[in-house]
Symmetry: C2
Subunit: 105 residues, 2 copies
């Protein structure tokens, strides 16, 4: 199936995982210990996150550490850009309205 970042962050557990490994790379087991779920379930989430390149793995002895591809997160920011323009425009309009009201008083 087609996966993208927005699918990936739709799940609260995955958002938590992202926030977790953003601070420090971790193994699937370590991640699972932070939530009330099993290692396999975490593994499934990690797979989804991997599929859309939001995380990458790093071998360390016999353990595999997962870490966040922070660059990929910027794509969400990029998508938000179009709306940021809108709400900034609205703010300016509100600002102008207030200025006009003040002037006419």
């Amino acid at each position: 199936m087609r996966r993208d970042i927005f699918q990936a962050i739709a799940d609260p557990t995955r958002r938590a995982i992202i926030a977790l490994i953003a601070v420090q790379a971790m193994t699937p087991n370590a991640i699972a210990e932070h939530f009330d779920t099993t290692r396999q379930a975490v593994s499934k989430h990690l797979k989804i996150l991997s599929e859309c390149d939001l995380i990458k793995q790093e071998q360390q002895g016999r353990e595999i550490y997962y870490l966040l591809e922070i660059e990929k997160m910027k794509e969400i920011d990029k998508w938000l850009e179009q709306f940021r323009k809108i709400w900034e425009t609205r703010f300016e309009q509100l600002d102008q309205l207030l200025a006009t009201l003040k002037k006419n008083k």
Copy 2:
């Protein structure tokens, strides 16, 4: 079921709908005409978007116009904030690294 904005924007059709009505409020039929889907399917998407307060409706004669609650979009931006801090820090670190390399040359 529990719904949130991240669930809402997970679907590409819904993101398209959001972008569409961000520019101009529209009726379900008008929205459906922009995509290769039926009015009922659009209606379902609108329901989901409504459930998490991303859009609101406005009666206009016998038609109902849907418009974006741009303020709600800021919540995504708010969530991104924690990661923005990270990538800005990394950028600074890269900047410092480059400066050090230059200095040592």
